[in-house]
Symmetry: C2
Subunit: 335 residues, 2 copies
């Protein structure tokens, strides 16, 4: 196969290009079969590439003169800011120069750009955003958390198939379990969307459907793939983040509240940190936007080098396993 080539948008995030280049440098050192195209401010990127000793034979800069921010209207920004770091990076995938693109920029613009520039794979009706949600057990792929709400049963059905392909090929899970997020365990429970989707999932031989899961079970790792409409997925993902922050703030405040608790904190700090490390999951990469003709990965706006290098590893894995083709072939005959 061709060289693995991954485009990275260095702008649009909160922390600037430096962490992005640090992550690129780490990934280049770790994997000798990859090449990186990085878009952004050429002068700045050149200096960071120097500073972090990137292998210059395997990293190419595309200079951009514009940035898309969270305040830009996504679709309009994608259409008009043709020289933005995000559009230039997406173009490399569209043109076949790269097979994947990573951005920490505006979620809306990444989702819009994925669809309008990279384009949907044939037969795919909707392209879901599918982050891994850390749980007490194995992480679950929460599909869809994106911006396209009011899904139809056939959309959720396709999400289940795409999610299964992803978890099998990227997380190495054999016959991944698929569940639908519901408000009861029985098939007759749920809203109209869920009730119409369940029979489609039950009849599908390509997936390992285990039925409905209630949200109470999600933190325990109820299934490898959790299928839901983007509105519900987005609520779950953001509520998860909010609950995590709130709990950590409460615990920190508790531990710092008196001399006695501060001494207690010293004794438990390291173990506590280890216990909760798995809920961070920046080492798992970013959230893939699935069902496109190439891979688009959204990483956090406040990402640091570790998340960038993990996302590059995730893209490499995706490309090496030819997951785009696997998704395309799963839908090509209109299934």
């Amino acid at each position: 196969m061709d060289k693995i080539r991954i485009a990275v948008d260095s702008l649009g995030g909160d922390n600037g290009a430096e962490y992005i280049v640090m992550g690129i440098s780490e990934a280049l050192s770790q994997y000798d079969d990859i090449e990186i195209i990085v878009t952004g401010d050429e002068k700045e990127l050149t200096s960071y590439i120097e500073k972090y000793n990137c292998d210059k034979n395997r990293v190419r800069i595309i200079n951009s003169t514009e940035v898309i921010s969270c305040h830009d209207a996504p679709v309009e920004a994608i259409r008009k800011k043709k020289d933005s770091s995000l559009v230039l990076a997406l173009n490399t995938v569209k043109d076949g120069e790269a097979q994947a693109i990573i951005s920490s920029g505006s979620s809306g613009a990444i989702l819009a750009g994925g669809q309008f520039i990279v384009g949907r794979a044939k037969g795919v009706k909707r392209t879901p955003l599918a982050p891994l949600l850390p749980t007490k057990g194995k992480p679950s792929l929460l599909i869809d958390c994106g911006a396209n709400v009011d899904a139809k049963p056939e959309n959720l059905f396709q999400f289940a198939k795409m999610g299964s392909i992803y978890m099998k090929n990227i997380e190495g899970i054999d016959n991944p379990t698929v569940a639908i997020v519901n408000i009861g365990a029985e098939d007759e429970k749920g809203n109209a969307l869920v009730k119409e989707t369940i029979p489609l999932l039950r009849e599908c031989d390509d997936i390992n459907f285990i039925g409905s899961v209630e949200a109470r079970e999600i933190p325990y790792g109820a299934a490898d793939v959790l299928v839901c409409d983007a509105f519900v997925g987005n609520v779950i993902l953001k509520f998860y983040e909010g609950m995590g922050s709130m709990f950590m703030e409460e615990i920190t405040a508790t531990l710092m509240s008196s001399l006695k608790t501060k001494i207690g904190a010293l004794l438990i700090k390291k173990t506590l940190k280890n216990s909760f490390r798995k809920y961070k999951a920046t080492d798992k990469g970013g959230a893939p936007l699935l069902g496109l003709k190439g891979l688009v990965v959204k990483i956090h706006g406040n990402c640091k080098n570790q998340e960038v290098s993990s996302a590059i590893a995730q893209c490499r894995n995706f490309i090496k396993n030819d997951v785009t083709s696997k998704i395309v072939s799963a839908f090509e005959d209109g299934k």
Copy 2:
């Protein structure tokens, strides 16, 4: 006004009638203006009433020969099990003997019974289940978490009004803030339901609408009233419960993992317990089913005496403030 009379279903929960009677006894001691009607096994109830020194002049038993369990189909059970403790208790409200009823039984049966036996107030299209969600700040009323999914904009609009009346009269919050659960902060974000509901809420003079809140903000107490469709509310409520349990299990396991952490645990235990007490909220009573001709309160299946006595206090408060009439008059002219 009439005597405050509250019906309590002693069966259907996980812990049997004893905790229920303990809670009743506590409430009777605390409030001398209430009377209780308790449904269940007469012999058993008589012995517990004796054991816990209930004021016998203010507690009346209605003997029941049937129980509705979680395994019964709710609507069918309500129709057929006419001598069940739940149906008998609901009948006391329908007949005007009591103004409120509390049950720890099957949620589905309580919701069905509330609608079919107690009946909707005039003008109310749907009766939402509205628990208080503990947050880092003040608790938020999450309305709707019930079983009636696929709400229409006018339903959410009514939930906002009912929730405001509840929070003002029961939690004593002046001009309670109302927000809609959404996937973005701007009015143009959301699914079709949310986008159609927002203008109705913006135009309503009776509520203090502050716009959309993302789920990330919910654990911090984003608004006094959080309006959403029952599917979304149910997911939030159950995910909240699951996240809480999972975090507590992780912390307990961490603290018990070595001698060093066990010593640390001794030093922080009391403060930690105090910090997280507010997230338990069994002292806030149960989840009211609003918009009925009387008050129906659902308490946890595994409730203990504290939750029962709090729920009785909640009902007393509701009745004393005549909240049912306030809700009825808010909708009587078809607003």
